[in-house]
């Protein structure tokens, strides 16, 4: 164990603790209830490209959504959780198999409302820590002054890549160019991307009036994919259909995934709500001017 490494990381880890404290305060202030749910479960939510870590008895979950939505359905109101999640095989400068996720649900809200609230959270953190909405990240000054630029997926892809993923069905190219081009298309400003092709938003509600897109939005800052937000899908039958497609895609890769019947049952009682997932490690990277996720972890593995 390199103690020298731990000593060198201390300033970042102290700032990390401060970010967690401020984030909890932000949600408590707004009357969100902090909840805890299991990290080990018999079966995760079916997602084609997110693989859970298998254990002797079940899976370490890639997201707490499986248990937070039933709490929402049971009438707990606005809830949030900061927890460890697990995604098999994800390791890189912005990825670890085990990482920290902030998951939060606002009832009676839509995806763009929750994106605005997420914007408020990040501005609040930057102002509390730096006393400014100007952020220096990897040699660039990023202006966090709200409101942040909002671009539909169609506009962003037309701009950065010259094609429209809503009319052209090419999920592979979409994923690649989202990560390599769109994520960093506004180097000096945050980017709120919204209205994803339905295929890329398995748990989001379809946009009324345009079923080709779903109500999903993502926030990127400094090339980091920070937060993913949905208007939650509350139609159990539609959800079953979408999960079936995810299960088939997973099967193509040789993974057997089960239909989460209890979860679908709970969706019948789900109130209208928006839900978000924000990568705490990347948020800390941004606020510590860290190029790699290992700089903000005590034991990066």
């Amino acid at each position: 164990m390199g103690l020298e490494r731990l000593v060198a990381r201390k300033a970042n880890l102290i700032r990390r603790a401060e970010i967690l404290r401020l984030t909890r305060g932000f949600f408590h202030e707004r009357r969100f209830l902090e909840v805890e749910t299991p990290q080990l479960a018999a079966a995760p939510i079916p997602e084609a490209y997110i693989e859970p870590v298998a254990t002797e008895r079940g899976f370490l979950l890639p997201s707490p959504e499986l248990y937070m939505k039933p709490l929402l359905a049971a009438g707990y109101g606005d809830i949030f959780q900061i927890c460890r999640v697990f995604r098999k095989g994800e390791k890189g400068a912005q990825h670890r198999e085990e990482f920290t996720l902030l998951e939060y649900y606002r009832t009676g809200a839509g995806y763009l409302d929750l994106a605005a609230e997420t914007e408020e959270l990040i501005v609040y953190l930057a102002e509390s820590l730096n006393g400014s909405t100007l952020l220096c990240y990897q040699g660039r000054t990023i202006d966090l002054t709200p409101p942040w630029p909002r671009l539909s997926v169609k506009e962003a892809f037309m701009d950065a890549c010259g094609w429209d993923p809503v009319t052209i069905d090419d999920p592979e190219r979409f994923d690649f160019e989202l990560a390599t081009k769109v994520a960093s298309m506004l180097p000096d400003r945050p980017l709120v991307l919204y209205d994803f092709p339905t295929k890329m938003a398995s748990l989001a509600r379809l946009k009324p009036g345009d079923s080709r897109v779903a109500e999903r939005t993502e926030i990127f800052i400094g090339g980091l994919e920070l937060a993913n937000i949905f208007s939650e899908l509350t139609d159990a039958e539609e959800q079953r259909k979408r999960f079936k497609a995810e299960i088939e895609l997973a099967a193509d890769q040789g993974r057997k995934v089960d239909m989460p019947e209890d979860f679908i049952e709970a969706l019948k009682e789900l109130p209208e709500a928006a839900g978000g997932a924000l990568g705490i490690d990347r948020l800390v990277m941004l606020l510590c001017d860290a190029a790699s996720i290992e700089e903000v972890l005590a034991f990066p593995g």
């Binding site: 979409f174 994923d175 990560a179 890769q253």
Partner: protein, 186 residues
């Protein structure tokens, strides 16, 4: 092996050609497919490339070994080496040896990177000792400090050496930078 298991310094066989992995970078949109950017060096040509792969892509590992050998002699651009373990002889082409030929003196101990039974790269010791065969006599009255002059070594290598070096002396030379290290006495 699966692309997710590939790491730096692995040797892969792609379309029948061996590559060394110099870097792996993992990119993935939260809900989308994982992408692996590999930085590969073609071990036959030395050319770098940066291809992209997806989860589930598979590779064969190239069986690369490094063996201790001794340089024997050169003939018509063919360099002959002997495996000091098996006493087998191998021939390496001038295109592979390149500028390293300037360090190859008879019986030099080297390492050879082998792909199956083919020598594909030559690894020199960090420093070699070579004899000076030609150098200008140092100018009278010139200060010795930082004074460099040209010297030609027994292998044809030309380097800058301190002014006090004479013909017939043996010098230790860094094979990576091609620079003078010290005079070998005795």
């Amino acid at each position: 092996m699966e692309v997710s298991e590939v790491s730096k310094n692995n040797k892969l066989l792609i379309d029948g050609v061996p590559f060394a992995v110099e870097n792996v970078s993992f990119v993935k949109p939260g809900k989308g497919r994982a992408i692996y950017h590999l930085k590969l060096r073609n071990l036959m040509t030395g050319v770098l490339s940066e291809p992209t792969y997806h989860s589930g892509d598979k590779f064969d590992e190239a069986s690369i070994t490094v063996r201790d050998m001794q340089f024997l002699y050169e003939e018509h651009g063919h360099y002959h080496f002997m495996d000091t373990g098996s006493f087998e002889q191998y021939i390496m082409d001038e295109t592979i040896v390149g500028d390293k030929k300037f360090y190859l003196k008879d019986s030099l101990g080297v390492q050879v990177m082998m792909w199956e039974e083919r020598p594909i790269d030559l690894i020199l010791p960090k420093a070699v000792e070579l004899k000076v065969v030609e150098t200008e006599s140092s100018m009278k009255g010139a200060t010795v400090t930082a004074q460099q002059k040209l010297a030609k070594m027994e292998t044809g290598l030309e380097i800058g050496v301190p002014a006090f070096i004479k013909e017939g002396e043996v010098l230790r030379i860094n094979t990576l930078t091609g620079s003078y290290v010290e005079r070998v006495v005795g």
